[in-house]
Symmetry: C2
Subunit: 397 residues, 2 copies
């Protein structure tokens, strides 16, 4: 099934799952600060500022504590919200946290020893400063910083559908990027042009099924980020407004935002027929990616997937050109735990989604890295990004 | 003078200023984690991931502790770097923080009681988890979370030039936004089209003077963010792919990235001749903004600037439609301390840069908010964004 957003009911099921988990720990309240976690649980997207926005799940009810500029926004976006508590503004004459303390004690009547929080207090963001929750409430909060992220590690089938859709648009927008790339063009212009066209396609074709979350400006993005020619040697180069030349090795990136879920697609391409060395390094990289994808599956150690890629690099005598691990989980965050890393002790489980992107980098020549998004299934993996990986498809004449 | 980037020497002067400040506290080392602070001090821009990147200023020397994928990137970007220490990858077989501990003790030979840090440990970002510095080093770190932000509150004349330039491009790209807005168009298409054109102008006209920092995808951005028609009632609406209709109240946004410095420009516009009520609320908002700008100047309390705007709203009998304070400082961060807020105890000082954006919001009709960027001077203020603020200029026929 093609799915481009989740319904309020699907969010409610996530809240229920969290509450069941809390109940096992004899906890009846949790305060959530992380904006991605708030969206994951409730579908509320907002612009994080100096003004704390706190999701308070209490005895199964979904409540919020928000600044006045967000009150109606919450009612509008979260149909199953129970109570919306508010403060006027930050810093204001009375610090919002003291107002929160009264609400927790007098309105919600929190019970000591049964309250938890993602963090000791609202995060210091964009100039916000404030006291810890324990300080203002006198209550003892059990810190559960990872409880929601742990849920997010295993994607439900609905979320895998969102990632599949995101991958489809990453493929599409990348096609424009390749098409528009030519000798003499500027990477910024090509990036914007491809992303514009891909985004236009996406909002036009999806129509009412397109649900903007506000997390990214372009619905679909394909970009250069400075990895052009010798500069592609820097694995995390940044856009420099470089101009394409014959002989350049290129490393690209593409994604799209489907209800906050973002796939990862990257390709190594060449401006014209590659040299012998470019060809060799491309082949080594592709063989390493193949080996890692072959190794991946349910029950496999993350470290073994990394080692599969590293083994190929060793055999090709390019292990000294490796600068990073083979991949990372992803979903609503660009990178998530666990990592396909030789030091990881984690195991791949059905529902986990990873990038697979072993890379090698040769000074003066450039970088060689494909990245594809795959999901772990009950009996193997499914690669969600389908863009051609073979050399011939990636030469720009 | 038109300035579009800073030189390594200007960064070195910031490091020296920080070191002088540390010396007064008898501190000889500081560890910096915040990526904006690292850029501010050294000019190093990087993509924050699960891999900690730490600036270590020690006895006046600029050192880094980075993952292997960033080693050459540091050398490339920071000509005055002293030593670049590195670890292979995170998580890796040995946690990078233990490697850092050896470096701090054996290579840099840190002296107990003379070391400080911005944070207790590397921030938990994109799946990173790690121990605190004190835990791994056995040293006592003095926490100085605000020391660099305090420097950043007062902008040097060079940084004010960057903001002036950023404001100039915000004005330019906003012109395209207004030009492309028409009945039946989709806000996402208009946003992308205007930002594309403005960014193209910017990279073309600035040529080699354009210095991309990688902080934003578009060099210049003008956008709608869902504040269209009745939806403009939500002060922090998010883009919904809305289509412009006659009679809509619009609230826009525009900025550009000039070496990491980003101005803020917002305008209230109307699709056709405004109704009596639209006219009234626009006039009240404009009068409030005028009053706040009049009130602002060196030595003035932030709260008095807010009160000046609120006084106008009271006189116009629309104070109940206010949802937020009058403005915030800005620079390399979208919002910074201090705030033009009735509860603030801060005073405006020469070199501080603020947004001035009193707003009112009427359900069913929409939002009314201009935002302009101004700098506090020795004897008043200078408004850096110059886009027309009057009603007649903001009616789209």
């Amino acid at each position: 099934m093609r799915r481009t957003y989740l319904t309020p009911n699907q969010h409610k099921m996530r809240v229920e799952k969290l509450c069941a988990n809390l109940q096992e720990q004899d906890i009846e309240t949790i305060l959530v600060f992380n904006s991605k976690n708030v969206f994951y649980l409730t579908g509320l997207s907002f612009i994080p500022t100096e003004r704390p926005i706190i999701l308070i799940i209490h005895k199964g009810d979904v409540n919020f504590f928000v600044p006045s500029l967000e009150i109606d926004h919450v009612h509008h976006q979260v149909p199953f919200v129970s109570q919306v508590f508010s403060y006027f503004e930050y810093p204001d004459e009375r610090h919002p946290m003291y107002h929160l303390a009264s609400i927790l004690k007098n309105e919600l009547k929190l019970v000591p020893n049964r309250v938890s929080s993602e963090a000791p207090g609202a995060p210091s963001y964009w100039g916000y400063k404030g006291p810890n929750l324990e300080e203002v409430t006198g209550l003892k909060f059990k810190l559960l910083p990872d409880i929601i992220m742990e849920m997010r590690l295993i994607k439900e089938s609905e979320e895998i559908d969102l990632m599949r859709e995101s991958s489809r648009w990453a493929d599409r927008v990348h096609k424009y990027l390749q098409e528009y790339t030519e000798v003499g063009a500027n990477e910024i212009d090509v990036t914007i042009r491809a992303s514009t066209q891909g985004s236009h396609d996406m909002i036009t074709e999806l129509g009412d099924d397109y649900y903007p979350t506000g997390f990214s400006m372009f619905p679909a993005v394909a970009l250069y980020r400075g990895q052009i020619g010798p500069n592609s040697y820097f694995p995390h180069a940044l856009s420099k407004g470089l101009v394409f030349k014959r002989g350049d090795t290129l490393v690209t990136g593409a994604s799209s935002d489907v209800y906050g879920v973002q796939s990862e697609l990257e390709r190594t391409m060449f401006m014209g027929e590659p040299s012998k060395r470019q060809h060799e390094l491309f082949d080594a990289m592709l063989a390493a990616q193949d080996a890692a994808l072959q190794a991946a599956g349910p029950g496999v150690y993350c470290s073994d997937v990394d080692q599969a890629a590293r083994q190929v690099f060793k055999e090709c005598e390019v292990i000294h050109l490796v600068r990073h691990h083979t991949g990372h989980a992803l979903g609503m965050e660009g990178h998530e735990r666990p990592f396909l890393d030789k030091g990881s002790e984690d195991v791949l489980k059905p529902g986990m989604i990873f990038s697979c992107e072993p890379g090698i980098y040769e000074k003066g020549l450039g970088g060689f890295r494909h990245s594809d998004t795959f999901v772990v299934t009950e009996d193997g993996i499914e690669i969600l990004t389908k863009y051609p990986r073979d050399l011939q498809s990636l030469i720009i004449e």
